[in-house]
Structure formats: C-alpha cells, structure tokens
C-alpha cells in the first residue's frame, strides 16, 4: 500500500484536483504533485465560495444573522444555529425554557443523523458504490420531512430563536420520530451487511491514511476525525451544554486511526443519536417554548464570549465580542472541517490518489462550512 518509493524530483507532475471534480463534493481544489499514482505533495486551495459570514455578522443585528448559520453547513445546519443562539443567550443572560432545550436537542440529533446519512452515501459513492447513497437518502428523507413539518424548510433551517424556538413540535412530529427510530435501526443493520462487512470496502479503508492523535492535536482536529484516532473528545460530553447531561449516550471511540475508524465512529454515532432522540421524546417536558419575558432587543453586555458545540462534523465554536450595541462587534465562527481539512495536506503525502480521495471522503467535508 504505502510502499516506500524513491521519488525523483524531476519525475513529478502537477495534478489539479478540483475545483470541479467529482470527489471534492463542492468547489475545493487540491494541487497535487504526483509521481505516477503517488502523491508527493499536496496543497489545498480553499475559498472558492467564501461569503464573509463574519463581516455579515458585524453588519447585521443579532436576529438578522440567525439564518446565516444554516447557510454555513447545509447538511447539519441546526447544530450551527444552536451554537449561535447559545452564545448569545449566555452573553445576554436569557433563560431558555426546558421544553425548548429538549426540542433543540432532539432536532439537532435528527439533523446529525441526516448529515451522517448523507455523508455515508456520498462516501460510499466516492468509493464507487452507488446504491448505498440512494438507501441513505431514503432514510434521510424521513428526517427532512419531519423537520420540514416543524421548521418549514428542508435544508437551511432558521428554527432557533434567542430564548427558544420559532415553532413548537406537534404530535405528527413526535409520532413520525418514534416511527423513524426502529426504521433507522433496521437500516443500520442493512448498511452493516451491505457496506461495512463488504470485503472490498474494508480493504479500501483498513490502514489507509493513519492520523495520529498527536497530529489531531497539532491541527485541532475534532469530531469523528479525532474520535477515530483514539481521542475521547466530544463537546457534548466534555463540556456539556443545553440538556445533554440529561441523556444517557456513549461516545464511540476507535483507536485504529484509519479511514475505517472514522467511518465506524460516524456509523456508531447514528445509533447514539437515535438513543438521544428516543430519550428526548420520552422525557419531553411540557411548557412554553419561548421565555415569558421575551427581550425586545438583543443587546448582550460588553464582553467576550465563547461557546462550542458538537456538530455533525466536530466542535463548532462561536466567539462573540460585544460592545453592547445591537450588532456584534466581532463574530468569529470556528468551523470544524476547516481544521480537519487542514491536515489533509500533510496526511496524504505518499498515498496513492485513490486512497487520498477516499481519505478526503472520510473527513466529511462540507465546503461552504470551510470557506464560510
């Protein structure tokens, strides 16, 4: 596999992967210096869909910026909105009703499953298998239908508000979610048989692209990339926020450090998210979804605030520097894939192109989220 080859510097050529390439899932470009099929050096070029969300955050008022968060990561949008509302609530001391927090947790976890399902399909498609994508999309469709019924949109939700939610969930949602859980568990068995156990699939991922935990630390990798490298780190457990301490769930950690480990972490996470949804539905308290005293204007006090949450892709953080006005003074969005993608350049050296692209798939990239 990664057999040592002696590279002559004058025998290399530059291969331009992207910005329009089937494996990059968006407008990502990697300039690869190749020696035959082996990568000698790679340089990732990002920024093709940079939209300067951080400047928009400074120009817009707090509520006006709500919808921007879901445009960052279109697959797991709710986790990002969650972080934004949490940091503003923390800064301005808004109490969130318990029911609202439970609904947030349930919807975020459903969204996480949807995101992982899409990743699963796209990842197997990167490896050349098409049908799993379709099966994954069928399952994901149920989640999108559920969330559409509550939030009104299917992908770029604008659901959370400072202090609560835009809409309460109804009985349709609850019964649909309850029906979805056993269905998804059945599907997971199917995926295990069809994909996880498949000898071709395993041979392509086992031992490919090892990322040591030290490398994760140096690059600040989080999420499944870190957990696949034996790091037991999940913001939901390490720095519990929202109502996550109320739930009983595990953090899957694999010590193999390879692409298969990252795959296994995400597949196990789907199961754990199902558990959270199940418990959330059981424990769902009644009550309002917005605080009684809804603040008329969001004006956090002067100061510097930080909040991290665990999104589908890793630890997402928002740093809010407030000057006490109705616009943030500075809003920094720390996106997880930005750090995860960064280690690609170093990790893919010496790999064959097909392994490198499989590795890229295992990082679960969403380009708008890197470029912001």
């Amino acid at each position: 596999m990664n057999s040592p080859i002696v590279l002559q510097p004058d025998e290399t050529f530059i291969l331009n992967v992207g910005p329009q390439h089937p494996a990059t899932h968006g407008v990502l470009r990697v300039k690869m210096e190749m020696s035959g099929e082996y990568i000698v050096n790679a340089e990732t070029v990002i920024g093709y869909i940079h939209r300067m969300h951080e400047k928009m955050g400074e120009v817009k008022t707090y509520p006006q910026f709500l919808m921007n968060l879901s445009r960052m990561d279109y697959l797991g949008a709710l986790g990002y909105s969650h972080c934004h509302v949490l940091v503003v609530e923390k800064a301005s001391g808004i109490e969130v009703p318990e029911r609202a927090e439970y609904i947030r947790a349930i919807t975020v976890e459903l969204n996480r499953i949807a995101s992982h399902l899409f990743w699963f399909g796209a990842f197997v498609m990167d490896l050349g298998g098409f049908s799993p994508l379709m099966y994954a999309l069928q399952d994901r469709e149920h989640i999108l239908d559920m969330l559409e019924g509550v939030t009104g949109s299917r992908l770029t939700y604008c659901y959370y508000r400072f202090g609560g939610l835009y809409n309460d969930i109804d009985d349709d949602f609850i019964s649909a979610a309850r029906r979805f859980i056993p269905r998804m568990r059945k599907s997971l068995v199917k995926y295990r048989k069809l994909v996880t156990g498949n000898v071709i699939f395993r041979k392509r991922l086992e031992g490919i692209a090892p990322i040591t935990s030290e490398m994760c630390r140096k690059y600040g990798a989080t999420g499944a990339v870190a957990r696949g490298s034996g790091i037991n780190f999940d913001v939901r457990k390490n720095e519990p926020y929202s109502v996550y301490p109320e739930f009983d769930f595990d953090i899957p950690v694999y010590h193999e450090c390879d692409s298969l480990a990252r795959y296994m972490v995400r597949m196990d996470e789907i199961e754990q998210s199902l558990r959270i949804v199940e418990q959330g539905l059981d424990k769902l308290p009644g009550g309002p979804i917005m605080p009684d005293k809804k603040p008329k204007m969001i004006k956090p006090p002067v100061g510097d605030f930080y909040q991290a949450v665990e999104t589908a892709r890793g630890s997402f953080g928002v740093r809010l520097v407030s000057d006490g006005s109705k616009n943030p003074y500075r809003l920094k969005l720390r996106s997880p894939t930005y750090s995860n993608m960064h280690l690609f350049d170093e990790a893919c050296r010496g790999m064959m192109i097909m392994d490198a692209l499989a590795f890229m798939g295992s990082l679960d990239l969403v380009i708008p989220e890197i470029d912001r």
Binding site: Q64, N68, G152, K193, V199
Partner: protein, 146 residues
Amino acid sequence: MVTYFTDIYNGLLSLFVGMGITFKEFFKPTVTVAYPYETLTMCARFRGHIELVPDEEGNSKCVVCGLCEKACPSDCISLAGEKPEGGKKKELTKYVLDFTRCSLCGSCVESCNFGAIDFSKEYNLASTRKEDFIFDLLKRLEEKKK
C-alpha cells in the same frame, strides 16, 4: 495458509451477503414520486415566499408600520402607504418583495404584529429572468380578491 483461504472464503461470503441485500431491494416497490406528474402536498408550515393576508373584505391587513422592512436581513421588502383623505389608518399602496435576495428566514412574518403577512405554499418557481422574482404582493392580493 489457513488464513489465506479463510480470507478468501469470508470475502466471498461478504460479497454474496451484499448481493442478497440488493436482490431483496430489487423487488421492493419504488419510493420516488414522479415529480411533474405527481406532486406531494406541502406541509402546513411550509415556508414559501411571503404573501399578504387578506381580511374579510379581501383587503390587506397591513398598517404600513414598516417593521417587516426593518427586520429583513437582506432588504427584500419595500413598502409604501399613505393616508387616504378622511381615513384614520394608513393604507398600503405598494408592497414589493425582491425574492432574488430572500433567504426565507421568516423574520418579517415574525415581526408583524397584525398578522398581515404569511408564507405562501408556492414552490414551483423557476424562471430564467430575474424580474420574474420581484413580486408585487399587493397586485397578487388584488388578483386573489377577484
């Protein structure tokens, strides 16, 4: 030597298991909807572009306070109104939504204290011209009235 053969056996077995899965899926009914021929009903909370809500007489409920205009993050809404002679309330004379910039966040609907705007259920919006997405909502309301 033994692992050589067990690897081959297990590998082959996993391939046959996979083929069994797709074989079963082959005989299951299709799940897709042939879109232009069949359509799904939109859910009650679907958020399309906004629309003016008529009162009992079919006129707009809007009092031209301009809160929606202010709440909009992307400056999609432009409205104007004037007091008719002898009237007490302002009446809406213009309400234009620039849908090319709208991101369907719903801030305008939330900001309205009079329930004068609501989401439509329209999603079949496709055009090659930008002007087709600049909606005169007042005109649409009048057309609805007829």
